[in-house]
């Protein structure tokens, strides 16, 4: 999942759609993000490659919209509503997620278990 400058990034992604919940004046999604190109990647507990500066899900509020939509802790967010999240600062990522005019966010997330599942299925059922 690390990126080599100049080469395209490939990953197996899952589409997750979260409905924002209105709480008073705010629209909340119910999870916390960490990471970004202006942050220290070495302290990220969820990344495999400690130089990965992507945006990761660090916490999920139980019972919130993110949990309902099957977002999990440790997921790396690749896109939010079409906006790229692999090379953004922490604040830019926060802004893209908390736009007041949008009520739905469509995330493309990747996680290790997805890669494993694909490999496993490829191995078990070789293409004929």
């Amino acid at each position: 999942m690390s990126f080599v400058p100049g080469k395209p990034v490939t990953a197996v992604v899952q589409k997750i759609e979260i409905q924002k919940l209105r709480q008073g004046d705010n629209l909340i999604l119910g999870f916390s993000i960490g990471g970004g190109i202006d942050q220290d990647p070495g302290q990220n507990p969820f990344s495999e490659d400690k130089s990965d500066k992507g945006i990761y899900v660090t916490r999920i509020t139980p019972g919130g919209p993110a949990e309902v939509a099957d977002l999990r802790v440790g997921d790396k967010i690749m896109q939010v509503n079409g906006w790229d999240m692999t090379v953004v600062t922490h604040d830019q990522a926060r802004k893209k997620l908390t736009k007041k005019k949008e009520e739905v966010v469509r995330l493309l997330i990747t996680r290790k278990s997805l890669e494993e599942a694909v490999k496993h299925s490829k191995g078990c059922h070789p293409r004929q």
């Binding site: 993000i33 960490g34 220290d40 660090t58 916490r59 997620l97």
Partner: protein
């Protein structure tokens, strides 16, 4: 509460020592009960005959009687005579040689200048301006030489070393040869031929004085400067209790290094206290006393050496086999002693502080008190001493220092502290920690003689790995010298602008 705790511990100790003794009686014994233990002075002197009744029938030959002198005494007396006469003789000889050489050196230039005037005054050219200028130069250079020689050579001798000081002898020989060769030249070329060029003669005298000043410079470099740069690190260990210090010395001969080390010893090492060593000696004696070895084979079996060897082997084997619990005893004894010392020390500190509050320095402005009330420091010390005397004496007894301090010396020290406005803590400092030897009364260090024991000649220089021993009556100092390694240093330049820092963040935002 305290007293009962003490008693309890004391009785525990007694019980422990009793049980220890009963355990030590179960030693390795290999029979014949009526025989005397062969581990005694008799076996050391190598008696061959092992008669069981020897104690009743032998006549003992003792070392000395009251009216006879033994061989050792005679040797000691002659050595003392030799030493005292030898040293004084050598000191006088050295002094006379130095004085003769000094006179020779100073009077020679003056003689060179004066002799032509005496011997051939008519032929002599008169002294012109340049020549008279040289007179002044000779005078001042001689004065400088006089002061320099006084500063370097005529200092009070601080030690008597076993062998001559090699550099000084070399310099004396050099100066002597130098002056003699100048005299030779002078007598042959000037006196015999009665040279009339007086300016040349004066210049000759000036050149002599210049050369003497340069020899004095050589003397300063050889005697004083050469050993200033540290070259060796010496480790000095006292044999009685293991106190160790390290010093840096330059390139010195072994005897000069020994002198420097003894001077450092008087300043750095705490005083040698034989009372502190008695505990380990008694433990060692207990080790030996617990074992008795009997020779089962009959008399006349082995040579004396073989017997001694087999005895010691049997002892070592037995000691290895039995279970020794003296380490336990040592641990508890030391812990108990530590507690006792600390308690006594606390009592002492409180007593001294209280005593010091009883006297106060009288201010000048105060209305004059009656003469009976005003005391000088000695009387003040005597007045407050009794209140702290008991606590101090008990503390000194516990730390086994009581023989180092007499009552007179303690009162003197107290008067000294009072005069100089010292606090009770400052007064106590010299009793709480053992100080260097010179701090104590004269009988601890006056008349101490040191013997230098060395395998290499004592006028050789120090080398890496030299070992020598400085023996005194009660203990010896073992000295090992190691060369200070060659230091290779390199530099690394750091640009002051290169110190830059970045923040390492890891924020977490909830959305």
């Amino acid at each position: 509460y305290d007293i009962s705790a003490d008693k309890g511990e004391r009785s525990r100790d007694r019980h422990k020592s009793r049980s220890k003794d009963s355990r030590s009686e179960k030693s390795v014994t290999i029979n014949t009960p009526p025989a005397e233990p062969l581990l005694g002075d008799s076996s050391v002197r190598g008696e061959q005959v092992q008669d069981d009744n020897w104690g009743e029938t032998t006549t003992a030959v003792t070392g000395t009687s009251e009216h006879s002198l033994s061989q050792e005494d005679i040797v000691r007396i002659t050595k003392d005579l030799e030493d005292s006469v030898g040293l004084d003789c050598r000191r006088y000889v050295t002094r006379t040689i130095a004085v003769i050489l000094g006179l020779l050196v100073f009077l020679t230039p003056l003689a060179f200048l004066v002799l032509p005037h005496i011997l051939w005054p008519e032929k002599l050219q008169s002294c012109g301006t340049a020549c008279e200028g040289l007179y002044i130069s000779v005078a001042f250079k001689l004065l400088i030489l006089l002061l320099a020689v006084w500063a370097l050579f005529f200092r009070p001798a601080r030690a008597g070393l076993p062998r001559v000081f090699v550099f000084r002898v070399l310099l004396a020989v050099l100066v002597f040869l130098f002056v003699v060769s100048y005299w030779l030249f002078y007598s042959v070329r000037i006196l015999d031929s009665q040279d009339d060029n007086y300016q040349g003669i004066v210049q000759y005298a000036v050149s002599l004085v210049d050369a003497l000043l340069f020899i004095h410079y050589l003397a300063v470099v050889l005697l004083e400067l050469r050993q200033l740069q540290p070259c060796f690190s010496v480790c000095v260990t006292r044999s009685s209790d293991g106190e160790t210090r390290h010093y840096n010395l330059g390139q010195l001969s072994i005897q000069r290094a020994a002198l420097a080390i003894i001077e450092h010893y008087y300043c750095d090492f705490p005083i040698h206290n034989p009372a502190l060593l008695s505990a380990s000696k008694s433990r060692a004696a207990k080790h030996l006393a617990g074992l008795k070895v009997y020779n089962v084979d009959g008399p006349g079996n082995n040579a004396a050496a073989g017997m001694a060897q087999s005895q010691s082997r049997a002892m070592i084997a037995a000691a290895a086999r039995r279970r020794d619990t003296s380490h336990n005893e040592l641990y508890y004894e030391e812990a108990e002693h530590e507690r006792r010392v600390r308690k006594r020390r606390a009592r002492l500190v409180v007593a001294v502080e209280e005593a010091f509050t009883h006297i106060k320095r009288m201010q000048e402005e105060e209305p004059k008190k009656a003469p009976g009330d005003v005391m000088d420091p000695r009387e003040a010390a005597q007045a407050i001493f009794p209140s702290m005397a008991r606590a101090l004496q008990k503390y000194l007894r516990t730390t086994k220092q009581q023989h180092c301090h007499s009552m007179e010396s303690i009162q003197q020290h107290l008067a000294f502290c009072i005069t100089n406005n010292m606090t009770p803590k400052a007064f106590l400092e010299s009793y709480l920690t053992p100080g260097p030897t010179l701090q104590y009364g004269k009988d601890h260090w006056l008349g101490r003689r040191w013997t230098l024991i060395s395998e290499a000649s004592v006028t050789n220089g120090l080398k890496d790995g030299s070992v020598f021993v400085l023996k005194c009556v009660d203990f010896s100092l073992v000295v090992t010298a190691k060369k200070i390694p060659y230091i290779q240093m390199s530099e690394e330049y750091i640009d002051p602008k290169s110190h830059k820092f970045v923040l390492r963040l890891q924020s977490e935002t909830s959305v």
